[in-house]
Amino acid sequence: MPPNNITDHRVVVRVPSDSDDVRTAASEGDANVVAVGRTGIPDLEPLVTVTIEGRTALYPNCPPDQAADIATDITDGTLDEGAAVIEHDPDAASFPAAAVRGLDLGTRRVLGGCGWRRPASAADHEAEGGFVDVSPNDVLDAAETLRGRGWGDWRHDDRVADDWRRLRDDEHTAAVVVNAHAAVDGLLLESAPLEVLEGAQLAAQVVGAEKVVVYVSEDDERAVTRTRKAADAYPDPVAPVDVVTGPSAYRAAEPTMVLEAIEGNHRLEARLRPPGSSAPTLHETPALVHTARTLAQLAVAVRTGTPPTRLVTVSGDVESPATVELPESDRLADALAAVTLVDGFKAACVGGRFGGLTPSLDVAADPDALADADLGTEGTVEVLGETRCVLEFVGKRTQFAAETNCGRCVPCREGSTQLTELLRDVYDGDYDAEGIEELTRVMDASSVCEFGVVAGRPARTTLDAFDAEVAAHADGRCPTGTCFDAPEVTH
């Protein structure tokens, strides 16, 4: 292995690989400067850090000239005590907890490499204990409690190990498909691709897959190049790695459409998924489809045996979005500490673009608690500020479903169109709560794929939690003053 940036250098200056200016400026001196991926906290970027023997100074929002100064000053071998300095294990191969907003939350395991290890450096990943040599049984043991992460996972919220056991006995498994279409999966591929690839290799080892296919959005060029580089650096992979791009459209993350895209269909629509245990197929051969998140969790679980965590991205009416990693027992509300609200907190759309609306984030991040609360498990918390109208939000979200669904099945295609109309009718004084509930129930129960299953969730949960606000619109009044033109003043 070439030198790593964890134990093989006394001084390490970490600069963001996304920021060419900062990187170039810092590299002018003689310091050991390495380029790392995003941390998940864009508010801090560009973030430059300097590590010397178990102490790290952090320089958030670091302009190029400051980066150049930092790299020059460090040649004397001492830290600038004026900066925020954190103490940590000198051999820390994951970003240590830091008293900087966003980096002080939860626990960074899956995100550990992000902003700390070089994305495509096998040496750095090995310093973390990566590339473990384990038997398929060990992998299955570690995966026993692992559940699929995100709607892009064939086993979303379900145990993954059962499929793996079944396919293990199958004569031929085509591929482990890594679905990295969602933004958070793209973050992992950009910043810690070896974590994802190791998870994929471990799964490939269990089921005897002949290749790993990493699927990313055509818009995510950085993820494509980093993954290719990381795959080239991967020591002795059990299965070769292909990187394939699909359309950037939201629906293109649905697992059956992922397979359609990889097979090269020019038009993406959902495949049927008969009930029971059937495995996905790629080119008519059994395959696995898991998200990058699921596989990174596997790699961490195999290596450390630590309990699973949840990646939570807070966005919406906030100054800057943030992605943090929480233990499953932590509440979603805890993630709010990573952001600055710009308009207070009225509600959040939790669990994907078609998540559930809730006025309270006092719910644990684990999938069962979220399901009980009729919220989604996608790991997203989209904040709606005090002045936001929930009916407007949910109307537009439903309209989005009507415009971007694949068009295959009636409950999703026609259902989302009619649901949009029912929500629009509220403005004309016709608030048919029962009709809306009936329609969302049928969309949920009879759509072909998860797009349609959840497309009615924003509307359904809004009626539950914000009935009075919706009803006010039927009386010609929008409590937030968003929806109607200002009333004419009469004397």
Partner: protein, 309 residues
Amino acid sequence: MSSQHTQDVPPLTETIAPGTATDPDVTSTETETITVDGTEVTVAAGSTLLDAVEAVDTDDQVAALCHYGREDIGPRSTCRTCMVDTDAHGLVPACSTPAEDGLVVDTDTETATEARDVNLDLVLSNHNLRCTTCGKNGRCELQDAAIDNGVEEPRYGVFDDRGAYEPIDDSSSFIQIDRNKCILCNRCVEACNDVQVEGVLRVEGTGADTRIGFQSGVETMEESTCVSCGHCATVCPTGSLVETDIADAATIQLPGFTQKNSIGKTYESSTTSKGPMTPKKGEERTEREQSTETERARESTVDEREGWP
């Protein structure tokens, strides 16, 4: 089929791009015995739950509108008017669920009936219901299903916005297309591609813009590579694809009352003879193109939808 390919000759289907997904086999591998509404039914290998449902006198109507069940066409499982309740899997589409030994199927539970009724009404919501000018009046599967299910006033109305109607495509001498009556069952696409192997029709578009179009990218039947075999019209459950001469067959005999003016817009034939040959094939666009600007705009501005409310 693949065993017959040689290295030099690409498979015949290579340039056929119907725009549909590759579904898994959804039939049973063995003979299975299941219970439908209390009656035991044994069905042969290669059966779905719908085969069993159709074998008994069910407690409730199961329309299974898009189902064809012949010539290996379908199951497309798009309309979801065949939803039934099962003890093992809950609510499932009967047409695309393999028959499974010991399964108990109920057609008249509240959730199953609701799903079928709502989905049938959703189909009607996007169907031009001017039956009195339709050539298929009286022999229309959608009309039959609506009557059988006692639909009097569909929940979501019917497709009645003349401004939103697509022109009738009357450009071909043989087959007329009225997309305002299309329920997107996909039978025509499968007949054209999988049975006749002509590669003319395809599904295109997404969401409300999903429609039956032509693989050569042209707009009308006349310009298409259609060989006028008529299989699409044979399998069409509604008045969407009909033989030209009977397009007006069932129209009420009233002056000025025609099928065409019920829609108001028509693509007529250019009257230039195509000659004996159909246009050359081979211009099929099978490659996935990069997302267009419109698609990107539609996807990216989630919360800036135009025209709300």
